[in-house]
Amino acid sequence: MVHNGGFGRVSLYLAVRSIRRGNRSTLLLTILIIALVMVLMNFLSIIIGGVVTLYNDQMIDYQYSHIIIEPREKQTYISNADGLVKRLKGIPGVYGVTAHLSTGVTITNPNKGNFQSLSLVSYNPDDEQEVTQFQRVIIDGDDLSKGDTDQILIGALLAGKEDESLDKLPSLGGVKVGDRVTVAYNNGVVKSYRVKGIYESLHALIDHGAYVTKNEMDSVLKTSDIATEILVKGKSAEDAPDLKYTIMGFGVEEKVKTWSEKSQGILGDAIESLNLINTIMKVVALVVASVVIFIVTYINIINRKKQIGILKAIGIRKQIIEGSYLLQVLFQCACGAVVGILMLNGIVFALTINQIRFPMGYLVPVIDYSSVAFSIVLLCIVSLISAFIPARQVAGEEILDAMRG
């Protein structure tokens, strides 16, 4: 005798008319609030995503490239480096390979007496320009070329400013292109170099470094055919894990790591605390959303109490009535999600036009659509629960009580 028919259909019928003929401004306000909550839930992700991208790009462009190959277990150097570089260049999917040899030095600015201890890195300029981007960020002077012997490339932070109070890191106190600096190697060799170029990558670690050619360092250290690391550039950052396994498949016995494996520790802590703030913000936004949806649905339903009583009196099941309110909330969420995504894109657009400068460069805002999708799902669930409570309460009232309004 009793049957369940028409649950979805009748609920939908009522919901559509409720939305169409109900209070327009309340509906728009609710949609706006849901949209704002969505923006709130995703805004920080956009910034964090942008910062991470910025860091990653810098690490790839100046420090690790896509793949970094390190000496075998318990070894300080990669031996037979030239042969390995040649082999790597022959692997499909490899766009560039460069070997670095580095050693601890103390660099002194003889004019002022400032000195800095650091790891001096050497590279082969022809190989290097296929892999990293130093040549693109030289702010004064020129990049190294293969034959350079008494020339050095130094970072803007290491070079420093004449007025040292403006320096972010301890520096050589304002070294310029054409100046000479003294480099004291660990093996006792002390040599004077002419500053050939100054680069600024905005990556603090890199900008506080210095480079000479590999030939030059080999001749000072009396080494040949060794490297401390080999960087490999592939097609893209995302393809790095595949390339790693390709390289390993070619029998490379040195440690092969992707840029992201290498950089995990560096950003990890900072990103983790940002992510924690992000999570807290999301939870707060969700709580706000659920309270707002609860209140809006509650007021909405209280105002329609008499109407609900009438529907029940003529024989409409309370589940159908509850369903119609849940469908209305789902509709609000759907509209809110669309408006929210539009707003997020607006924010990204605004941030693209008026770029925010971070210490390590200009932020590139990125919408993480998987996080957006997740926030929509969460928002829908929270909204449905918040709406269900008042809907159930009022739809469950005695008919005559409800009809009195």
């Binding site: 028409g6 019928y13 009522l14 003929r21 003529i314 099941r317």
Partner: protein, 226 residues
């Protein structure tokens, strides 16, 4: 058709018990147009609510078409109201978010019948009550008398076994009251529709086949004999 035996309804008002119905026994036949009359507060609405499954009595039995409705579950009562009963209330009780035709069609739509069929049926009853041309209007655009006719159309659309009407003319002027009463009479005569209507207007009596007088929650036997 309707068999009520020793029906009682007691309202609990805090510590005080109010007996709204104190043992009512009545019988109504199929096709009758019955008026329930009595002074204000005598229990007319309360009786109608029990008969119409809108409320549950404290004790006694009600049989509608040999179904013992006091034994039905909540779900079954809801279904029974939808399938077998029609209602007309004093304040019209139309749904403001539905237009005229949708208001009339909704009890049929709730039975999960095809929408077109529901709208056709709604239009045909709207024609009967003379409001077909107002079918696309919103409820508040209609006068009280028109709204009450829409509500009668809604009560009719499912071909109910019984229509219950609680003072349907209380908010209407004499002219509109007459229109509504004529409508009930024609539905009763032409379709053999059983109607139970509460009223306290003496001039309505001429429309009823039979009148049940009620006073202080009991059938007023003296007036019945008149």
């Amino acid at each position: 058709m309707i068999d009520v035996v020793d029906l009682k309804k007691v309202y609990q008002m805090g510590l005080v018990e109010v007996g709204a119905l104190k043992g009512v026994t009545i019988h109504i036949d199929k096709g009758e147009f019955v008026g329930i009359m009595g002074p204000s507060g005598s229990g007319k609405s309360t009786l109608l609510h029990q008969l119409g499954l809108l409320d549950t009595p404290s004790s006694g039995t009600i049989r509608l078409n040999s179904t013992e409705i006091t034994r039905l579950s909540d779900e079954e009562r809801t279904w029974y109201r939808l399938m077998h009963l029609g209602y007309v209330f004093q304040d019209y009780a139309l749904v403001s978010e539905l237009n005229v035709m949708e208001n009339v069609a909704i009890p049929m739509i709730a039975q999960d019948r095809p929408i077109d069929e529901c709208y056709e049926a709604a239009k045909s009853v709207l024609k009967e009550v003379g409001l077909l041309e107002r079918k696309d209007h919103l409820v508040y655009e209609l006068s009280g008398g028109e709204q009450q006719r829409v509500s009668i159309a809604r009560a009719l659309v499912n071909n109910p076994e019984i229509i219950f009407a609680d003072e349907p003319c209380a908010n209407l002027d004499t002219e509109n009251s007459r229109v509504v009463l004529e409508l009930f009479r024609s539905v009763n005569k032409d379709l053999g529709q059983t109607i139970v209507m509460v009223s306290h207007e003496p001039w309505h009596m001429e429309y009823f086949d039979r009148i049940i007088f009620i006073r202080d929650g009991v059938i007023d036997e003296e007036r019945m004999r008149e």
